[in-house]
């Protein structure tokens, strides 16, 4: 493919710098400044960064031209801050690069980030160390921008570590609670396990590609002849799988997904920004960024697809049995991330990034809505003690509903388009090592996931907003709609979640509607085109595409219907107000009856499966064995080994002798 023109663009530096400046300012002075100023600085920095990003992307868009293969190309903007270090052949530039892919990312990061900053002003009101919160938040955005803008993988790794640190600090934000502090620690350490794999991959790239700059790596990969590819096959697969291990840590996939549910210990805006919209998608971004590398290793691609599919399904089953409003969303995030990895695994990097974007919209919306609910219910998170909130907080309710429809893939809502794309490519791809059978398997898995997603999301919705309020008197008397600072972002996000999907109309629909273009795909083509061109897809014509879409829609609506069946029954009978006792009784019996029915049918299987996954995989295997187990083992070993040091010099001397003896045996044997 032809090489891409690159233009110097100094503004990029400022986009990344502004949040950092905000963080430094608040970090040093924040404690002594009035709250208003702190929040203004923090949110202001984000706002300006967002505007600058729009300018930058617009500039990129202006630079478009007709590519050799008839597609529109946009080139890239770069800004070389400085040369970080240069060792022999390896030269690491601290260089920021803006191409269509990173453009999408920075728009999401700064845009959604800005909204969430505004939201936080309302949500964090009255928190003791408010300045600390905004410092961390700004620092996180800076690190995230480093991650997506860095042209060199070492810079990317810097951001990769930075977001880890920021998320650690923010999860443990309310560190007075030991459980929350340790949740932060868990997240950080699990992520480090993934990071070491990434480091190894970088080393291997240094050896075999001789560079870590994405641009140069791309050239290197494009110049590889098939013979070389087969020769390097093992190494390439190793690199890709190592990178993917890093992604499973950062993006919470099997087996390292365990930290994300615990991460809900952090403030809700944090969960929205870091653990739904941006940081956790870093893995998907990395793979899309290096698609030219991954397509060279079908093994890795297959692995990614399978892991993604499994994660999506199992996380969904776990989500079904959660009762904490944030836990449900957490598991649904894991599940949706699984979807994205499924997408990139089957070679449709576009679908992955597209779903990344729509997910950023509706999941941020859902988290913020949940936050608004928690705010209104005075930090009640158990959905069994909610219900009927639609009367108390209408805005939250409607926006939340939009979010639910979007994630459930209800037609013409954003989630519908992206999810359909993923399902279609899963079905149509032919390059997975498992062959067509694997494709079908993954397709059904994804279909089931779509169904479950719709089900538990609307279970959540009905239990929270519909029906009678099950909160106690005291709480109920205080329930209120959230302030404007919180509802405004909700509305904006609701609009995005509602209509955001139309930028990526799938060909099948576009064709039917008279050649509507898939804007998103054309925009991203420059980055992911070559990768996608690598694969062929079966099914000429649109027949199967319609089938897939119909199936997806059906499963989504089916899930909604089932949830309504179980939880949406109109339990708010008019007479309820009259005789409360009877009403309460009826409600109770209703619930009881529903649960009976639920348990008697599909519910039991799903519940069981969910429970098993949760207990077995999550708690036992990961929590106990991998994380705590390892930590304990290390601590235990340490405390055993230190006993050897009994303080007697002569034992030290003895050890020296022992060492010398062993070495001499090694040497002179």
């Amino acid at each position: 493919m032809q090489d891409i023109p690159i233009y110097e663009f100094t503004l990029l530096g400022w986009i990344a710098l502004l949040p950092l400046l905000g963080a430094i300012f608040n970090g040093i002075l924040g404690a002594r400044l009035p709250r208003a100023l702190v929040s203004t600085v923090a949110a202001g920095a984000m706002g300006v960064a967002f505007i600058l990003s729009i300018v930058a992307v617009w500039t990129l868009f202006q630079g478009r031209f007709e590519g050799a293969d008839g597609h529109t190309l946009y080139g890239a903007l770069y800004h070389n801050v400085f040369t970080w270090f240069e060792v022999g052949s390896l030269r690491v530039d601290f260089e920021l690069l803006l191409d269509p892919l990173s453009a999408v990312m920075i728009l999401i990061i700064t845009g959604v980030g800005f909204l969430i900053h505004v939201y936080s002003i309302g949500y964090m009101e009255g928190d003791r160390s408010w300045w600390r919160f905004f410092t961390y938040l700004n620092f996180f955005v800076f690190a995230m921008l480093m991650l997506v803008l860095g042209d060199n993988l070492v810079v990317l790794f810097l951001g990769w570590e930075g977001v880890g640190v920021a998320s650690y600090l923010l999860i443990g934000f309310w560190y007075e609670d030991d459980e929350k502090a340790s949740a932060g620690k868990k997240a950080f350490i699990v992520n480090r396990v993934g990071d070491f794999a990434v480091l190894l991959a970088l080393f291997l790239l240094v050896i075999y590609a001789g560079s870590l700059s994405v641009v140069e790596l791309r050239e290197w990969a494009s110049t590889l002849s098939p013979a070389q590819v087969t020769a390097l096959g093992g190494v390439l697969t190793a690199i890709c799988i190592l990178l993917f291990i890093g992604c499973t840590g950062k993006s919470a996939q099997i087996p390292l997904f365990v930290w994300l549910p615990d991460a809900m210990a952090g403030p809700t805006p944090v969960s929205a920004l870091i653990h739904a919209a941006t940081m956790v998608t870093a893995g998907v971004y990395l793979i899309a960024r290096l698609n030219f590398l991954f397509v060279l290793s079908p093994t890795a691609m297959t692995l990614i697809a399978v892991i993604g599919g499994l994660t999506a399904f199992f996380a969904a089953t776990i989500g079904v049995v959660q009762n904490d409003i944030k836990k449900v969303l957490a598991y649904s995030t894991v599940s949706q991330l699984g979807f994205m990895f499924l997408a990139v695994g089957v070679g449709s990097f576009f679908a992955g990034v597209f779903h990344l974007m729509t997910h950023a919209f509706f999941k941020a919306l859902l988290f913020l809505g949940a936050g608004s609910v928690i705010h209104g219910m005075h930090h009640e998170q158990d959905i069994r003690r909610m219900g009927g909130l639609k009367d108390y907080m209408p805005i939250t309710r409607w926006t939340f509903l939009v979010g639910c429809l979007a994630i459930a893939g209800f037609p013409l809502f954003s989630g519908f388009f992206s999810k359909d794309e993923i399902l279609w490519y899963t079905l149509a791809n032919v390059h997975l090592l498992g062959g067509v059978n694997l494709s079908w398997f993954l397709w059904f898995l994804a279909l089931g996931t779509a169904f479950l997603t719709a089900f538990y999301m609307f279970r959540l919705y009905f239990l929270t907003f519909e029906g009678e309020c099950r909160a106690d008197e005291k709480t109920r008397s205080h329930i209120h709609e959230s302030p404007l600072a919180m509802t405004l972002p909700l509305v904006v996000l609701a609009v995005l979640a509602g209509f955001g999907g139309f930028v990526g109309i799938p060909p099948v629909l576009g064709n039917a509607l008279g050649g509507l273009p898939n804007v998103m795909h054309d925009w991203l083509y420059q980055v992911i085109g070559p990768g996608e061109a690598f694969f062929a897809y079966r099914f000429e014509g649109y027949g199967m595409a319609w089938m897939s879409m119909a199936a997806a829609t059906a499963s989504g609506i089916g899930g909604i219907a089932l949830a309504w069946l179980f939880y949406g029954k109109p339990s708010d009978v008019p007479g309820a107000m009259a005789e409360k006792a009877a009403a309460v009784h009826r409600i109770l019996s209703n619930k009881y009856y529903v649960d009976e029915f639920y348990a008697a049918t599909v519910g039991r299987g799903v519940t069981l499966l969910g429970r098993v996954c949760h207990r077995l995989v999550d708690e036992l295997l990961i929590d106990t064995l991998l994380v705590n187990g390892t930590a304990r083992l290390m601590g235990f070993l340490g405390s055993v080994l230190r006993v050897v040091q009994n303080g007697q010099v002569q034992r030290y001397v003895a050890f020296v002798f022992l060492g010398i003896a062993i070495i001499l045996y090694l040497v002179l044997r």
Binding site: I28, F82, T83, W84, F85, E86, V87, L90, V154, F157, L158, E161, G162, V165, G172, Y175, E176, A181, K185, F188, I189, R192, V193, D195, F196, L199, L200, F203, L204, V206, I207, A631, M634, G635, L637, G638, S639, L641, R642, V644, Q645, G647, V649, R651, Y652, V653, F655, V656, L658, G659, I660, I663, L664, L666, V667, L668
Partner: protein, 577 residues
């Protein structure tokens, strides 16, 4: 007369001379000042001394590498760069010391004199070209540090630490001496480069005509000492070069003993047991000095020894080579250091064990350097690591010293609780040092670890190409290294957690001492700046390695026909396969 001391001799040892002069001046100032007056100004005097020494070392940068003092000493890039390192460490130590000493009413001038003398010893040691000078300098360094360890007379712990450190140190130097004696016996010279040449001749001659070889040997002026032996006395299987070094048990015993005692000084497992006691028992500034300057000097001299004397292929990779030794030592050090550090409750002891772990990482690079065809330039990563490590360590110990008040030592983790908010700058600095030690970007430690592991991976690649045995083991070493550094994050994080996420258990008020603040901030800034702009320092450490005089891999011996020593080594390698 030929043996006169030339100006270049004096000039090239200027840093050493400056330090010793300042040391003596400080001593005299101390004794001629009335009792009871504050001695803290001596800190500035000795800081100036270090600055002067560093400056003179920097002035010498122009001088091209050469042998001085009758082949006793090198003036080369390596010695200069390491001298800069020692001077920095010493200066910062002197800055963090005075208030601490005053708090423990141990405010006496000997402290600074001893620091100066010991730093002089280090500089001499890393520039030594001969075992005699090497040994003298080593002792000059060690003896001064023994005294420093027990410096605070009122402290039982310090007395015990000093005694243990001394006993183990003396033991180690006896072992090293015995090793040197055996090597001297095998080669007939104590000149490092000459030993290197002779040993590779000896190894090489397995496939080359001994007679020819002997004529070559006796040609070497530096090797006049070796010309005296006769091949007929076969009563010891040491000097018959005709059959290679492979059958020189005493020689190998000697080499092993020398390397072991050098490794002892850097505190690698299982020769590490003195280290935690010494570091944690000694007063914090001394701990800083021992953990930074002394360890750096030990590593630098280890590099020098291996590169000059023991870098022959047979000695490295042969069935009795030292690479396998460093391999196991590195693995053990990383494992034990990191694991035991987790179980510590005292920050000082945690730092001590973590420095053992750092030793392990650096030994990984040394193993890589010696592996396969052997690439001495990979040693640059060690030099760079030393810089990063020194700043982090001195800074951390310095903060402990900064927080220590009379009759209240800050040593346990719980003592740091909540200090991050109480002293923001201090908290940030400590966080930086911990992140750097954990190897998290954008601090110096990350680049350092990156360099070290990269060196190992490169050596692995080269080894695979050359078809060396067990290249995969090297990769395994890297993997385990990175894994253990992941483990390490745990206890470094613990410090940050205590700084920011625990509520204070008791009132800790820092002794706000100006010089200490300066020293700590220098370290903090250096840690960050090196992390962000490592370029210059990387080049400097590359220089240090590439400009090391008498490196064994260089072409320093020519035959009449001009064939370099490499031919011999290659022949010998093929012979040994």
């Amino acid at each position: 007369m030929s043996s006169l001391i030339t100006p270049i001799d004096i000039a090239s040892t200027l840093p050493f001379i400056v330090l010793c002069l300042f040391g003596m001046v400080v001593l005299l100032l101390e004794v001629f000042q009335r009792q009871g007056q504050s001695r803290s100004y001596l800190a500035y005097v000795s800081a100036v001394g270090f600055a002067t020494a560093a400056f003179s070392a920097w002035l010498l940068m122009g001088v091209e590498g050469q042998l001085v003092f009758h082949d006793m000493n090198y003036i080369d890039g390596f010695s200069k760069v390491t001298a800069l390192l020692m001077c920095t460490a010493g200066a910062v130590t002197c800055l963090i010391a005075p208030r601490y000493l005053a708090e423990l009413n141990a405010d006496r001038g000997e402290f600074y004199a001893l620091i100066l003398f010991s730093a002089g010893g280090m500089i001499m040691m890393v520039s030594a070209a001969d075992f005699i000078v090497f040994f003298m300098a080593l002792e000059l360094m060690s003896i001064a540090v023994y005294a420093l360890a027990a410096y605070v007379r009122s402290s039982r712990v310090a007395a015990e630490a000093g005694f243990k450190y001394f006993l183990m140190g003396a033991f180690a130097s006896a072992i090293m001496l015995y090793g040197i004696a055996l090597v001297y016996g095998a080669t007939g010279t104590t000149n490092l480069a000459a030993i290197g040449q002779l040993l590779s001749y000896g190894a090489a001659s397995g496939s080359v005509d001994p007679a020819l070889l002997l004529s070559k040997v006796s040609e070497q002026g530096a090797l006049a000492g070796a010309a005296g032996y006769d091949t007929t006395t076969g009563d010891l299987l040491m000097l018959n070069y005709g059959s290679g070094t492979a059958n020189m048990p005493l020689l190998y015993l000697g080499i092993t003993l020398v390397i072991v005692s050098a490794v002892f000084k850097v505190g690698a497992v299982p020769f590490h047991m003195w280290l935690p006691d010494a570091y944690s028992g000694a007063p914090s500034p001394v701990g800083a000095f021992m953990a930074s300057a002394v360890k750096a000097a030990a590593f630098a001299s280890l590099l020098r020894l291996l590169a000059l004397a023991f870098f022959d292929y047979e000695l490295r990779m042969g069935p009795m080579g030292w690479v396998q030794v460093t391999f196991f030592l590195a693995l053990l050090s990383m494992a034990i250091g990191n694991l035991v550090a987790i179980a510590q409750t005292s920050v000082k002891r945690m730092l001590a064990y973590s420095s053992i772990a750092h030793t392990g990482y650096m030994l990984v690079a040394i193993t890589a350097m010696g592996y396969g065809v052997g690439d001495l330039d990979l040693g640059a990563s060690v030099v760079f690591y030393l810089f990063a490590y020194v700043f982090g360590t001195v800074g951390a110990f310095g903060i402990l010293a900064y927080l220590t008040r009379s009759r209240y030592y800050v040593e346990r983790f719980s003592d740091l609780n909540g200090l991050g908010y109480r002293y923001p700058a201090l908290g940030v600095a400590m966080t930086l040092f911990m992140l750097s030690s954990a190897g998290i970007p954008p601090t110096a430690g990350f680049i350092a670890k990156f360099q070290v592991f990269k060196a190992a991976v490169i050596a692995y690649g080269a080894g695979v190409e050359a078809g060396e045995p067990g290249a995969l083991l090297l990769l395994a070493l890297v993997v385990s290294g990175i894994l253990f550094s992941v483990v390490g994050v745990y206890y470094y994080l613990k410090v940050i957690v205590h700084l920011y996420m625990r509520d204070p258990v008791r009132e800790v008020t820092a002794s706000d001492s100006g010089p200490a603040r300066v020293g700590i901030s220098v370290c903090a800034i250096a840690t960050l700046v090196i992390g962000l702009f490592p370029g210059p320092l990387l080049n400097l450490s590359e220089q240090a390695m590439s400009q090391m005089e008498g490196r064994h891999d260089g072409v320093y011996v020519q035959y009449e026909d001009g064939a370099p020593i490499e031919d011999l080594q290659r022949l010998m390698r093929e012979g040994s396969r």
